[in-house]
């Protein structure tokens, strides 16, 4: 099992804290790309047929499968709209983010 990467903003106070070579020490999960979007997908689960297409096509792996239902991870979703576009049931709507 690979070591779990740290999820935090990494700050080096001295060169002594830095690795010898430029190598990664933590995960990009610290970077909440949800802040990028101005529209957000909203899934109407009552129409959802659990086809898996939205989960399959998300370039940001930001749709989780929770209890066999798709769930948007709004921390990271960039609002690209692919899920809404591809959903065969058209049960995903893109909604303007509130200011």
């Amino acid at each position: 099992m690979p070591k779990k990467k740290e999820v935090r903003k990494i700050v080096f106070n001295s060169e002594k804290e830095m690795p010898l070579a430029p190598m990664s020490l933590g995960s990009m999960l610290h970077n909440k790309t949800g802040a990028w979007r101005n529209i957000r997908p909203v899934i109407d689960l009552s129409k959802c047929i659990k086809c898996g297409i939205c989960w399959k096509f998300c370039p940001d792996a930001s749709i989780d499968i929770v209890d066999e239902w798709p769930q948007i991870n709004y921390d990271y979703c960039k609002g690209c709209g692919i899920c809404a576009e591809e959903c065969p049931q058209k049960c995903i709507t893109m909604v303007e983010e509130e200011k």
Binding site: P2, K3, E15, M18, L20, A21, M23, S24
Partner: protein, 384 residues
């Protein structure tokens, strides 16, 4: 076991005894024998290594770096145009902290095409962060390859073992080939502090902002500064085990000299013969052969040369628009030192033109007659 071998083969034996695991190389005159012998050694099982027959020198270094990062001990060899083609990747090796050991045959840069000895190729790479050893005998070449792995892998900095085209690469000399078990005792297997492994995944070499780049390079420099002492330490260790000391410089009759030649490569040994002949005629001259050029052996050079009134640096290279490179570096190392010797810079032997004992007599003649050089560069052997 003593064998009569050429300089190129001394490199091959060094790599073989060091148990290099991945070799990626592209042929170029006058390096070809290095890789040909290594190819044979891999084919007949003398050396358990993968030999990647890459399609260019750039790919050779790229493959070596990939293999090194995967945790394997790597070796390659090249010369002139090939070294120049690898230039981007030389920076990569040092910045990426991959301890590759490479043999470079000093050959003149084209155009016009020249296969003969000249130091511009390796000296053009002096800023890349590689350790550079300029060797003067086949024995030294073989021994230094082994020592270089030890130094490089301890500090995670790549090394270049440099020898003159034909004058050393193709010259046959008697070489004591150490026993494998003794080399194994001196040089343990490669055990890097980081590597490409799915069990502990990292991204190596990602985008590095101004917030971080400088510290990473600071670390490289600090580790480079440890090289001279480590060369001494590993050189003494080598002497204990194999009977031959491998140091940073070689001093010959400098203590009471009025004039010291500063030389490198095969000219470094021609100089010694000239020193003997001049001494017989009553001239108190000496020779300082610089072997470790990067990092520059400041301490040794200052120690030896500040005791001497005159220094004549011989460069088989030239930084166009400035001066010979060993001259520049020696001069800058001696700047501000007290006492300050008079330093003369001579350029000779470019493109493989012979450097002979007579060249040194001409140099001694000039340096002993003048208080200081009348021209910035004193050219030896040019038909003006």
């Amino acid at each position: 076991m003593r064998k009569v071998i050429m300089g190129n083969h001394a490199l091959s034996y060094g790599a073989m005894l060091s148990r290099a695991q991945v070799i990626a190389a592209y042929p170029i005159t006058p390096q070809t024998q290095v890789v040909e012998l290594l190819s044979e050694m891999c084919a007949d099982g003398t050396l358990n290594a993968k030999f990647i027959k890459v399609e260019s020198e750039h790919s050779a270094m790229a493959a070596c770096l990939g293999a090194s990062l995967a945790g394997a001990r790597t070796f390659t060899a090249t010369s002139a145009q090939g070294l120049a083609l690898m230039h981007e990747m030389l920076h990569w090796a040092a910045g990426g902290r991959m301890p590759v050991v490479m043999g470079n045959i000093n050959r003149a840069m084209a155009p016009g095409w020249s296969i003969w000895t000249d130091q511009n190729d390796s000296l053009s790479e002096r800023d890349t962060g590689w350790i550079q050893f300029y060797c003067s005998s086949n024995q030294e070449v073989l021994d230094t390859v082994i020592q270089a792995y030890k130094v490089s892998e301890k500090l995670m900095i790549p090394s270049m073992i440099i020898l003159d085209a034909f004058a050393l690469s193709h010259t046959y000399e008697v070489v004591e080939i150490p026993e494998q078990e003794k080399v194994d005792a001196y040089l343990p297997p490669f055990n890097p502090p980081f590597r490409l492994t799915p069990e502990d995944p990292h991204a190596f070499g990602g985008l590095t902002s101004p917030d971080h780049y400088m510290e990473l390079r600071y670390k490289l420099q600090k580790d480079m500064e440890k090289v001279p002492d480590l060369v001494e330490e590993t050189g003494r260790e080598y002497e204990k085990m194999f009977g031959r000391y491998l140091g940073q410089v070689e001093e010959y009759l400098c203590a009471d000299a009025e004039l010291v030649f500063v030389t490198s490569g095969t000219a470094g040994y021609t100089a010694r013969v000239a020193v003997d002949e001049l001494r017989e005629k009553g001239f108190k001259v000496g020779n300082l052969r610089i072997k470790l050029f990067r990092p520059f052996p400041f301490k040794k050079v200052r120690e030896i040369l500040t005791r001497v009134p005159k220094v004549a640096v011989l460069d088989r290279n030239l930084s166009y628009g400035h001066h010979g490179i060993f001259y520049q570096e020696v001069k800058s190392a001696l700047y501000g030192q007290s006492p300050q010797p008079a330093i003369f810079g001579f350029v000779a032997g470019l493109g493989g033109r012979d450097i002979t004992r007579d060249s040194f007599k001409e140099i001694a003649d000039y340096a002993l007659k003048h208080d200081r050089a009348e021209e910035e560069i004193v050219w030896i052997g040019v038909k003006k």
